[in-house]
């Protein structure tokens, strides 16, 4: 290894905000040799993306490099001027972003956008750029590339948009590619194809890659070296295998422990034993299932989102619904929690057909108390003008008709306490709470009316792994103690395996496979379920096998 391609030395980045200056990156040093792959992992707020944007000078107006040096191929680009940056970006360093659909211009054909990237650094004519764009689309293995040249981003899937973005990024043969969470929001199988493509192209062209991700598995699988960031600092750095096998820094150790793997259990993630289970709930009315779904269908226009789905859920049981986007798992869960009407089929709750009650009137049905929902995004699912107290009290007021008073306060505080939410946070508004605290408010609101069925729609998808671990533990304990039944919707198969006794794999609105989680994950019967499982990137610290 001669001199590194990229050196970041003691980088400090500060943001001017209304609340004063925020010191986002505090002395980061990173080195990347030509052709090398470096993973930068960390949770939100660790400064990993800010470091990347500082390298390409794409920080927003409020941010500035306060200290340190950035050297690219021996050249100091810390204070590069506009002209110098224009030559650097795209031609020497390019980026691939999160959320590929938003990263493309919505009203420009993708062929033209690739052409723009090409023409920014070469003297190609419009026609030559178009031909080159076609080659690039073929290089990123877009099927029917000639027809896709004239497509708009909204006409392409998320995975295809990311391929287009990659085509633009490699268009002018840069020596370094910075990928900022390139597969967040993509399905696990799409993630695999996109990442395989990306790492293949990089190896083929001798490019270096800096992969910024929150997913340790992804970093482990695609990077030779990994740097772990926490609160604006690199806390540990080293060759991937060695780093994950024997993490030295306590933060890395916590992060590794909190990341779900093929064999982990909820207790492993947080390092605590599960709460003792309450005695199995007494059978309420006969021995029938709590929930029974029969031949449920739902179509949107000509598209059949859910196609003839039937299953049963026993009281106190936890059932996982997994599938990729478009599999109908969200539509199905919305119908069961009666936010959406079915086109056909029956939903029996305690033997009563609640599917016959229109979704628009279900909020007045007595079963509303018994079926509650925890939503995916803890930010958007809380009313920004409600305090945590008001949010949790809301279902009690509406569904149980409770008025103001000590009784209400006691119920709200009990729910908050059960969810591990400190009582002094109850007076706060959502924007004054952290992501994990907001998730707890959402859960407390859902369990406040003591429901018998909790529908959880990707409850931890927006959370960092360490917060996810704690929230999963909380949900698992709540279920054991209260005997609630869970319908757990997730795209994260490891999470579902840990949380659910039984799992249903959905594909294109139909049940592809159903069975006890352990058996299904150990030996999937359907090819599709196997494909899903194989696509999960994992870093497999072997210590789990050693103790098992």
């Amino acid at each position: 290894m001669s001199e590194p391609l990229l050196s970041v030395e003691n980088l400090h980045v500060r943001f001017a905000t209304r609340g004063g200056e925020v010191h986002a990156v505090r002395g980061v040093s990173l080195h990347l040799a030509a052709g090398e792959t470096l993973g930068v992992v960390g949770e939100s707020g660790s400064g990993k993306s800010v470091t990347a944007y500082a390298i390409t000078h794409l920080l927003d107006r409020a941010g500035r490099i306060a200290e340190g040096r950035i050297l690219f191929a021996g050249r100091d680009i810390t204070r590069a001027g506009r002209h110098e940056l224009r030559e650097l970006r795209g031609a020497a360093i390019s980026m691939v972003f999160q959320n590929p659909r938003a990263a493309l211009n919505p009203i420009r054909r993708v062929g033209e956008q690739i052409g723009d990237a090409l023409r920014a650094h070469t003297g190609l004519t419009r026609r030559a750029a178009r031909e080159r764009a076609l080659e690039l689309l073929e290089a990123v293995r877009i099927r029917d590339a000639a027809a896709r040249l004239d497509a708009y981003p909204h006409e392409l899937s998320g995975g295809m948009c990311q391929r287009v973005m990659i085509a633009m990024a490699i268009a002018c043969a840069p020596r370094l590619l910075i990928a900022d969470e390139p597969t967040t929001g993509l399905d696990v199988t799409t993630q695999k194809t996109v990442m395989d493509l990306l790492s293949g192209l990089i190896a083929e062209r001798g490019m270096a890659m800096m992969l910024i991700t929150h997913d340790l598995g992804l970093a482990a699988q695609y990077c030779r070296r990994v740097a772990v960031m926490e609160q604006g600092r690199v806390v540990e750095e080293g060759p991937t295998a060695a780093l994950f096998r024997a993490p030295r820094h306590p933060y890395t150790r916590r992060l590794v422990a909190a990341s779900p793997t093929r064999h982990s259990t909820v207790a492993d993630l947080v390092g605590e034993a599960p709460a003792p289970a309450a005695p199995p709930p007494a059978p309420r009315r006969g021995q029938g299932p709590l929930l029974e779904v029969q031949g449920l269908r739902r179509s949107f226009g000509r598209v059949l989102a859910v196609d003839d789905v039937s299953f049963r859920l026993a009281p106190g049981e936890s059932l996982g619904l997994v599938g990729e986007s478009g599999s109908g798992k969200t539509t199905l869960s919305r119908m069961i929690c009666r936010l959406l009407d079915a086109s056909a089929g029956r939903i029996l709750f305690d033997g009563e057909d609640i599917g016959a009650i229109p979704a628009s009137r279900f909020h007045r049905a007595p079963q509303r108390r018994d079926i509650q929902i925890v939503f995916q995004d803890p930010n958007d699912s809380l009313n920004p003008r409600f305090t945590a107290f008001q949010a949790i009290a809301h279902p009690l007021r509406r569904l149980e008709g409770m008025g103001e008073g000590p009784a209400l306060r006691a119920r709200v505080e009990a729910a908050a306490r059960r969810c591990g939410l400190p009582l002094d946070l109850l007076a706060r508004f959502p924007h004054q709470l952290s992501g994990g605290q907001k998730a707890r408010v959402g859960i407390a609101r859902a369990i406040a009316t003591r429901p018998r069925l909790l529908v959880l729609d990707e409850p931890t998808a927006a959370l960092d792994v360490s917060v996810q671990a704690v929230v999963l533990k909380l949900l698992d304990d709540l279920r054991r103690q209260d005997g609630m039944a869970y319908l757990f919707v997730s795209h994260d198969l490891n999470v579902v395996r840990m949380m659910c006794e039984r799992t249903i794999v959905l594909r294109l609105g139909r049940i592809e496979e159903e069975g006890p989680s352990d058996a299904l994950f150990a030996a999937p019967r359907s090819a599709y379920a196997r494909e899903l499982l194989d696509a999960i990137p994992h870093f497999a610290p072997e210590r789990r096998e050693a103790t098992a």
């Binding site: 940056l85 224009r86 970006r89 390019s94 980026m95 972003f97 723009d116």
Partner: protein, 349 residues
């Protein structure tokens, strides 16, 4: 195959236009009935007004009333009126003695020409100002634009109009006599479209074209100043939002030139909401420019309707309101179609 694909969107667009026009009919009908009733409720008896003034005797008033059909019950009057409108007849104007349709058709081009000129002028000013303000938020340029916009909105059109006349006609003598569309002694072009600027250009009479242009500059500027604010502010806000979006960051990360990022990537996206606002501004200007028409003695439809209203002349007012409603529907439809062209996502929804 490709032909069928190309035909599809056109066909769909035609269908959409058809549906939109049909769905506008109830609204137009409502407007008709509402204005009809409103005119009857307002004080003032046209028969008294037209029966040779106060000197006319009771018998004469009765006669006029019978002539105009005002002695019949209201529902019957309404039905007769609707029947007339359905046949394309808007009634007679008592003030001009001509059919209302003729009057409106004669005056509409004047109003449209003035409004188009004002809108073009306003957009020509507002777009660059809005873009400049968005590129440097909080800078002196931004504050200057805000000041100009505030000024434009605060000053009523009759004040700014008179001010412009005072400065450019009286003090500087740059502008011609600010009355009407053309100098009284100038030759008018053959009435091909009714738009003087277009007609002069069609017959290649450039001297006449310049004269007409000189006449329209002051009233159009007056109106443009008034609508500068919504257009410039919208451009600024929409430009700011677009500049902060992720695809702009992508464009920058690929090393596209600053001009290309601003003009091709940001501005084209930012224009989409401005288009909607422009449609609304246009419709508003067309009816609300009555003050400008009065100040500059512009022979447009708005001043015509005002005169009729003051004279309790029913038919012209009803005709004018119907015309405005129809234009509003047409402009909205046009904006929607343009929207579909400007934003490929819209045609899917």
């Amino acid at each position: 195959m490709s032909e069928a694909r190309a035909q599809g969107p056109l066909r769909r667009a035609a269908r959409r236009v058809g549906i939109r026009l049909l769905s506008a009919l109830p609204a137009l009908f409502g407007v008709l009935v509402f204005t009809f009733i409103l005119m009857r409720v307002l004080p003032g008896d046209p028969a008294v007004f037209f029966a040779a003034g106060a000197a006319g005797g009771q018998a004469e008033i009765e006669m006029v009333r019978q002539q105009m059909g005002l002695d019949r019950p209201l529902p019957e009057q309404l039905l007769r009126y609707l029947w007339d409108v359905a046949r394309g007849e808007l009634g007679m104007s008592m003030t001009t003695g001509q059919p209302v349709r003729t009057d409106l058709l004669e005056r509409l081009p004047a109003s449209l020409e003035l409004t188009f000129a004002a809108l073009l002028l306003a957009l020509g000013l507002a777009l660059p100002l809005g873009v400049l303000a968005a590129l440097r938020p909080g800078s002196p340029v931004d504050h200057l634009v805000r000041f100009l916009c505030t000024l434009g909105v605060c000053v009523p059109t009759f004040v700014s109009g008179l001010l412009l006349v005072y400065v450019f006609y009286y003090l500087l003598a740059w502008a011609p006599d600010p009355t009407g569309r053309l100098d009284v002694f100038a030759a008018t072009p053959p009435g091909i479209t009714g738009f003087l600027l277009v007609d002069f250009a069609l017959v290649r009479d450039w001297e006449g074209w310049r004269a007409a242009a000189a006449q329209i500059v002051l009233p159009a500027s007056t109106m443009a100043l008034f609508v500068l604010a919504p257009l410039a502010r919208m451009t600024r806000a929409s430009m700011l939002a677009v500049l902060g979006s992720e695809f702009i960051r992508t464009a920058r990360s690929l090393g596209l030139s600053g001009r290309r990022v601003v003009l091709v990537y940001a501005l084209r996206n930012a224009l989409i909401p401005v288009l909607t606002i422009s449609g609304i501004v246009f419709s508003t200007m067309l009816g609300a420019n009555v003050l400008v028409e009065k100040v500059f003695s512009w022979p447009g439809v708005a001043s015509y309707a005002l005169d009729a209203l003051l004279a309790s002349d029913y038919a012209p007012v009803q005709g004018f309101v119907l015309l405005m409603a129809a234009i509003f529907v047409a402009v909205n439809l046009l904006v929607d179609l343009l929207y579909g062209v400007a934003d490929p996502r819209a045609s899917v929804a």
